[in-house]
Symmetry: C2
Subunit: 417 residues, 2 copies
């Protein structure tokens, strides 16, 4: 089962699921959010996770969200979906829905009201795993399900044929020792991944396979930067980027990551949606902190003129501001940034899915930090998109551009080729 290693590894971005107050998913906003995640360095999309408020949505709405995501991603990113439900038969139905819709893998949390026994949780996993051919990730999330797995129970469930991965909160104490202890108890090749963004670096540096990330669902660029430094084992860089992200981690801990990413998504113009009641949005009085938290300072100035070699680019705005990311330490090519931010797409080819939101046509000249985050996000997603926009037959130009882009972003070049 080669999907085991391919699917549950690297950086998995967990977007919110924008929905109206009645719980009807805004599939158009969702597609916009997903398109921003279609960048190198994001290895999978974790749709309808806890960040995606899966348990607050009906089966019908969860189906709608999945179908919209499958359509939008067109297989460009593997799609992982939570099939969690209070009842076992409902979880089986959700697993079947996901499989039929073309999802690549499932998350399954032991959702509870009546506190569950180990035997009940085992039987639940056995029943749901037996009802699908999809690979399943044990979704260990005690703060929401109120069930804590013992290592023995994890090992027992991990022995089920299509249970191949574990997602759990990053340990708060001795992350390296804890990771190694768990690794020794689980089958060889079993994927062990971590959530709780603010704690994730240590267990990943200790060998964790996946970062299941809430922040990556709304700020994919900085998340990719952090994950790349983790992949390289560059402890100093990890520390530096983590410090930059600290204001966001503080907001996560104060308000809960779900509420904060919702607020960020609204502030970034990705959607106009509130979390499902009874969950309340972060109060307006705190939005100033959220707006100023994203750690991407800007410096003024006029961008240099574009280099004439970039034949794929059409237009440039002379008003575009010079953007630097000194705190992230990116050796960013300014003209590349400039051109990407101002790129206007050609009409989409007939067989290609259109991504209108991924190619912004305006440039921010405001000093509002959030605008610069939008700009940064645009740059990353647009620059990645530029590669795919170059016709495959012009492979030389495409390769050249992708390599330059990879170098400028510190991304693995093969992701762009």
């Amino acid at each position: 089962m080669s999907i085991k290693k391919d699917l549950f590894q690297g950086l998995s971005a967990f977007p919110i699921t924008p929905a109206d107050p009645d719980g009807t998913v805004d599939t158009s906003a969702l597609v916009g959010i997903l398109e921003k995640l279609d960048i190198p360095g994001i290895d999978s999309i974790g749709l309808l996770g806890s960040t995606g408020n899966y348990l607050y949505l009906t089966r019908e709405q969860r189906k709608r969200a999945i179908h919209a995501a499958v359509q939008a991603l067109q297989g460009r990113k593997p799609l992982i979906v939570s099939a969690g439900a209070l009842r076992t038969d409902d979880a089986q139905r959700l697993a079947k829905d996901a499989e039929e819709a073309g999802v690549d893998g499932l998350l399954l949390a032991p959702v509870s009201y009546t506190p569950l026994t180990d035997e009940e949780v085992y039987t639940h996993y056995e029943s749901v795993a037996g009802s699908t051919t999809l690979p399943i990730c044990i979704y260990h999330t005690p703060s929401t399900t109120h069930f804590t797995f013992s290592d023995a129970l994890l090992a027992r469930i991990a022995a089920l044929p299509n249970v191949v991965a574990l997602k759990q909160p990053s340990p708060t104490a001795e992350p390296k020792a804890r990771h190694e202890e768990l690794r020794a108890k689980l089958p060889s090749g079993f994927s062990i991944g971590y959530s709780a963004d603010w704690l994730v670096a240590e267990p990943l540096l200790a060998g964790g396979d996946v970062w299941y990330s809430a922040i990556a669902g709304v700020l994919p660029g900085p998340s990719v930067a952090l994950m790349n430094s983790i992949r390289k084992g560059d402890h100093a860089e990890v520390k530096r980027i983590s410090a930059v992200l600290q204001p966001i981690w503080e907001l996560f801990q104060e308000f809960g990551d779900g509420r904060v990413v919702f607020a960020l998504a609204n502030e970034l113009g990705l959607c106009k949606a509130a979390p499902p009641r009874p969950i309340l949005p972060v109060a307006a009085e705190h939005h100033g902190r959220i707006r100023s938290a994203p750690p991407f300072p800007t410096t003024g100035g006029t961008a240099p003129p574009p280099s004439p070699s970039s034949r794929c680019l059409r237009s440039f705005s002379p008003a575009c501001r010079y953007v630097a990311y000194p705190q992230l330490g990116h050796a960013m090519h300014h003209d590349l940034l400039f051109r990407a931010a101002n790129y206007r797409p050609p009409p989409p080819p007939p067989r290609h899915h259109a991504h209108p939101n991924a190619y912004p046509t305006t440039t921010s000249s405001s000093a509002n930090p959030v605008d610069w985050v939008v700009c940064y996000e645009r740059v990353v997603s647009c620059a990645a998109a530029l590669v795919t926009r170059l016709p495959r037959r012009r492979h030389e130009a495409r390769n050249h551009f992708a390599l330059a882009l990879a170098a400028s972003h510190g991304l693995p070049a093969h992701d762009l080729l």
Copy 2:
């Protein structure tokens, strides 16, 4: 709002909701269970509580259960129903369904997946209370909702116009002091009731208004006996009955009260149903303990012949065994027990709702303790039913019989008249 004091007081019995594996409620079994609760000393029925697995049932099935209960009870017992749901709008819909079906009051628990803030819980109660005219009881159940109310939040919610009561687990430490502390913080006349059957006696003796009881939903007779001794403030009797019930409390704590009452209901022949998956029934190997737990020993012997004054009774079984309840200390009239257990009902009057399950036509002669519990339950419900079966025009005979019955059971006579 006179219902405040009438509705949330005394002994509230919380039955299970028997359902098939797909979650379709067995309304016939449910009605049978409810009819056994239609005895003096049970002050209200708490349908679809945690014991009734409300959160595991769809809105449609919850409606079906409510309609069946309203039909069966015909207003003879006030009906309290949980309107709890993960989403606020769903809770509002459930409250409306209950109100339209003729329910008397609501329980509302802050069901959670994403951990909730105080403000979110307050807004949830405000929204649901604002959508119904029914009186609402705050259902504080941290072991299932994972939300713990502060006293300040309780007081804030208690100030909402139709929030009139609190149901919470019995305090494990200093129950009297804790009850009085809470009483001082809540509005005058606000009902404070307790759950967790094995701990309930102390806070009730300290002035608690309601016993929200899981055991009363399946063994109403012994529960009424315990509650009556609490009402009388008879500490010695409370202690004695509590000791008798101890084996059940131990099972509750070992397996969870919900699983045990399900097993008891099956053992007592009240239903053939399992809890909703993933919750598993108590394993067969433990059923022996459950069968032998009900603390009603029997002594052999042949019952004395019935007294000729009971003209309402039709038939007697000479094989009926002599039953004594020395541990409960009931001064039970053996011939009354005997006659009640053997009573065969006349055809129901045309305008009267038929209760076929409430009038058993067979007598147990087995030494199985569970059969004796069935017998005891039959006796209590049948004896109460006997009174209502006597035509109203024969008021002298009716009064005489009711007074004898009340005396033999230690029940308040006015409940039977």
